[in-house]
C-alpha cells in the first residue's frame, strides 16, 4: 500500500517535471540576409550538440534547446521572411556613414578635393538629423610622435570648426586624435604618405 503511494507520488512528480520542461523549451531561429551592398556573409551557429554554417541569402536554421543539433539549413521564401521579420527589419537603423578628408603635407590645410566634400557631409548630417558626429584626426609618420599627435589634434579641430561654422552644434561633435598611430596605409617611420594625412568624419 505504502509503495503504491510512493509510486503515485513519483509519477506525479515526473509529469510535473516533463510539463515544466515542455513549457520551458525555447527555440532559436537564425536567418541570414544579404548585406546592404548585396554581398552575403556567413554565420556559424553552435551549441553542446554541434554546429552548422549558413552562408546563403535567406538561409535559416532552428535550434531547439542546448542539447539538440541546429537543424539542417534551409532557404526561407522571401515572402515568409518579410511577413515574419519585416517589422523588426524596418526598425534597423541605417549604418553610420564615413567620410575621409585629406590635408596638405605638415599642415592643417585641406586639399581642394576634400574642401569640396564638406557639403556632402553636411547633407548627410541633416538628412539623418545626426546628433553623434565623430571627427578623428590622423597624420602620416613624417616627424616625431609628439609633433604628429599635436598636428592630428589641430586637423580634427579645424574640421570640427568648419562643421560648427556651418551650424552643426558643438554638443553633437566629438573630436579625437590618433596622431601617427592609426594609419590607413601602413608605412615605416618618417614616411610622407598623403593617404594617412587625414581626418575621418563619422556621421551616425
Amino acid at each position: 500500500m505504502e509503495r503504491l503511494r510512493i509510486l503515485r507520488y513519483l509519477a506525479l512528480i515526473f509529469l510535473v517535471v516533463t510539463g515544466l520542461n515542455l513549457t520551458g523549451c525555447a527555440k532559436t531561429t537564425v536567418v541570414l540576409l544579404p548585406d546592404p551592398d548585396g554581398k552575403v556573409g556567413k554565420l556559424n551557429i553552435s551549441n553542446e550538440a554541434g554546429s552548422v554554417d549558413i552562408d546563403k541569402a535567406g538561409e535559416a536554421t532552428t535550434v531547439r534547446g542546448k542539447q539538440s543539433l541546429p537543424s539542417k539549413p534551409e532557404i526561407l521564401p522571401e515572402e515568409q521572411i518579410a511577413a515574419k521579420y519585416g517589422e523588426v527589419l524596418a526598425n534597423l537603423p541605417e549604418q553610420p556613414v564615413h567620410f575621409i578628408l585629406y590635408f596638405k603635407s605638415g599642415s592643417t590645410t585641406l586639399t581642394p578635393e576634400s574642401v569640396s566634400k564638406i557639403p556632402e557631409i553636411l547633407k548627410t548630417i541633416n538628412q539623418r538629423q545626426s546628433q553623434s558626429i565623430s571627427v578623428v584626426g590622423h597624420t602620416d609618420t613624417a616627424g616625431n610622435r609628439q609633433y604628429n599627435l599635436r598636428l592630428s589634434k589641430q586637423r580634427a579641430d579645424v574640421v570640427g570648426k568648419i562643421l560648427m561654422g556651418k551650424g552643426i552644434k558643438k554638443l553633437y561633435i566629438k573630436t579625437t586624435s590618433h596622431g601617427e598611430e592609426n594609419p590607413l596605409i601602413k608605412t615605416a617611420d618618417n614616411v610622407n604618405e598623403p593617404r594617412n594625412r587625414r581626418v575621418e568624419v563619422i556621421v551616425r
Partner: protein
C-alpha cells in the same frame, strides 16, 4: 611635516587615479528609434529609452508588447529589437588603435535584427552573440534572430 603631507597627497591622487568608479565611462552606442515601452536597465536603475540616449557596457535593453527599439553602436553595428525582447550587452570594446576589440551580447528572448560593424570585420573571433539555445559566430553581417 611638509614631506609627510606631500606623500599623503600623492597617495590620495594615486587612489583617485586607480579608482575605476571615478573613471569616465564611455558610451558604446545610442538609441536611434523607439516605439512604445523600452527600458534601458543599467545596474539598479532603469529608464524609458528615448532617441539619442546613450548605451553603456553592461546595459540590459527590454521592450514591451507592441514596442521596438533601434540602436547604433560605436563600431557601426546596428541592431533592432522587436516586441517583448530582451538583450544584455555584456562586453563592448572598440579601440582599433590599441587592438582592443570585443562584442559579447546575450539575447534572452524576442526578435532581433543585426548588421554587424567593424569589430566583426577586424576581429570576427571576438564577436559572440548568445541565445538560450546556441552561440552565433559572425563572419558578416546582416541577419535575424528569433527566440520563442
Amino acid at each position: 611635516m611638509m614631506k609627510f603631507f606631500s606623500v599623503l597627497s600623492l597617495i590620495f591622487f594615486m587612489f583617485i587615479a586607480a579608482n575605476p568608479c571615478l573613471a569616465k565611462i564611455e558610451s558604446i552606442g545610442f538609441i536611434d528609434n523607439v516605439q512604445g515601452e523600452v527600458l534601458i536597465i543599467s545596474g539598479e536603475t532603469s529608464v524609458q529609452g528615448v532617441p539619442n540616449m546613450k548605451i553603456l557596457p553592461g546595459d540590459l535593453i527590454r521592450t514591451g508588447s507592441n514596442s521596438s527599439v533601434g540602436l547604433i553602436m560605436e563600431d557601426d553595428t546596428v541592431l533592432s529589437l522587436g516586441p517583448k525582447s530582451e538583450i544584455e550587452i555584456q562586453e563592448f570594446l572598440f579601440d582599433p588603435a590599441e587592438r582592443n576589440l570585443s562584442f559579447v551580447a546575450k539575447m534572452i528572448r524576442g526578435t532581433f535584427s543585426f548588421i554587424t560593424g567593424q569589430i566583426a570585420k577586424l576581429a570576427p573571433r571576438k564577436v559572440k552573440l548568445e541565445t538560450p539555445d546556441a552561440t552565433l559566430a559572425v563572419r558578416g553581417t546582416k541577419f535575424v534572430v528569433e527566440i520563442d
